[in-house]
């Protein structure tokens, strides 16, 4: 390989390096090359924005309060105790004591007023804290849902019993293509592209075909680019799928296929 070719290969590796997709040996070789190649270093830096996005673009969750305590409290200095040294004083004669009582009474009245104000303030704080908590709860719900959806997809794709089924186009949609990943334990991830919108009043239904009968995985509709990406939970006790198919069916789906076939594929 000429130096020029080697450099071209490294330049292509920059993106893979940025998302840590290189195995150890290739990673070390790229790092070695990086030391002497400003062009590759520049290319790598251009992916900083993508890496930051992948790091920060995940659903944001609030950690538990106890975590902050574990991290911060152990290192924070204990707050300084108020200086009590001077509060021990000498109360001598009677009139001084009477004056002190008077001062204490005035002080107490002022103190009560302050307390009332504080309580009003605290009530307001509590109200706004409850509002914030409610908002945080709602954000968390949305985030949890979104995490769950992507977790389900990934869980299928890293399942040890993963099986892949490719689906080919049928006459009603000659451009369409589909692929499914199925794990008995974790369910079905189905993707398809170039599907036309289903006929009015109808929906696409995805079928897992077993030796005995077709089982409905569920219904799905393509987006405006004709793409479907869907996760379906499938019962763990179904027989091994021998094929998959996509048909159009009445809105809401039907127990066994009746409509036109759009995609069909046999298990490998």
């Amino acid at each position: 390989m000429s130096t020029h070719d080697a450099h071209a290969a490294f330049l292509e590796s920059a993106s893979l390096y940025a998302v840590h997709a290189l195995p150890d040996d290739e990673q070390r070789a790229f790092e070695e090359h990086l030391r002497t190649c400003a062009v590759c270093a520049q290319e790598l830096r251009s992916f900083d924005v993508v890496v930051a996005a992948l790091s920060r673009g995940v659903p944001q969750l609030d950690p538990r309060v106890s975590l902050r305590e574990a991290i911060v409290a152990s290192r924070e200095r204990a707050p300084r105790m108020p200086d009590r040294a001077r509060s021990a004083s000498r109360w001598g004669s009677g009139w001084l004591a009477a004056a002190a009582i008077l001062v204490a009474a005035v002080g107490l009245a002022l103190y009560t007023a302050t307390l009332r104000q504080e309580i009003t303030g605290l009530r307001q704080q509590l109200r706004s804290a409850l509002v914030r908590l409610d908002q945080a709860d709602r954000r968390l719900d949305a985030a949890t849902q979104s995490v769950n959806a992507s977790q389900l997809r990934i869980a299928v794709l890293i399942a040890p019993d993963l099986a892949r089924i490719d689906l080919a186009a049928q006459p009603p949609a000659p451009q369409a293509v589909g692929r499914a990943f199925w794990s008995r334990a974790r369910g079905l991830v189905f993707t398809a592209s170039a599907l036309p919108p289903p006929p009015v009043g109808r929906t696409y239904q995805v079928w897992v075909i077993t030796a005995n009968r077709p089982i409905s995985a569920g219904t799905a509709n393509p987006d405006d680019r004709g793409t479907i990406t869907a996760f379906f939970a499938t019962p763990p006790d179904i027989p091994v799928p021998v094929a998959m198919a996509v048909t159009d069916e009445p809105e809401g789906g039907v127990p066994s296929p009746t409509g036109n076939r759009y995609l069909v594929g046999a298990a490998q």
Partner: protein, 192 residues
């Protein structure tokens, strides 16, 4: 978008100053630093590990390391945030790899089980949530196999060869998918 960049600039300055103060042993700076980034670190760790307890341990490790290494951190090297995120990803993926060799855990604990700490700066959270939505939209717009390959590398810690084996596809195809996906993301994120 000006609000977002304004907030990021302010945050970057505050980060540099917090790290300098942490290096000098100022514990209040660590508290400030955690309040600013604890949520992002926890969220990334949780995304990778899908387990509350594991994610919490990673967050503790990351802030302990940030505290220890603050003195060695060179403020001209790059953004503190990028440093923190790289640290978080690598700690979380290491833990994930360790876990993969053991039997799978029971389902992750419900993150709503306890009252959460919503004390981080509201403006900053708002700016980041705007950004996170945009990032997710950019990711969602990728062809699904490009996206899955990128996710398997970044969040699952798999190499290109492992991804190819997993998806039963040729290595060259997988490399191309990752690269094309990342180029598209770079373009879309630079546009907006």
């Amino acid at each position: 978008m000006w609000l977002f960049w304004a907030v990021i600039d302010v945050t970057a300055d505050a980060d540099q100053s917090a790290v300098v103060r942490m290096a000098a042993g100022d514990q209040a700076a660590l508290a400030e630093f955690y309040d600013r980034h604890g949520r992002a670190v926890y969220s990334l760790a949780f995304r990778i590990l899908r387990d509350q307890r594991d994610a919490e341990e990673v967050v503790q490790d990351v802030f302990a390391q940030a505290w220890r290494e603050s003195a060695r951190y060179n403020t001209r090297r790059g953004s503190v945030m990028a440093w923190l995120m790289t640290l978080t990803r690598s700690r979380a993926v290491d833990r994930l790899r360790g876990r993969r060799s053991r039997p799978e855990n029971a389902l992750a604990a419900d993150p709503r089980a306890e009252i959460t700490d919503a004390a981080a700066l509201a403006d900053e959270q708002l700016a980041w949530s705007v950004r996170a939505d945009r990032v997710r939209a950019a990711l969602d717009a990728l062809p699904v196999l490009q996206r899955v390959a990128i996710e398997l590398a970044f969040y699952e810690g798999l190499t290109h060869a492992e991804i190819a084996a997993r998806l039963e596809e040729p290595l060259g195809t997988v490399k191309t998918r990752i690269r094309q996906g990342l180029l598209k993301l770079r373009e879309r994120l630079a546009d907006s």
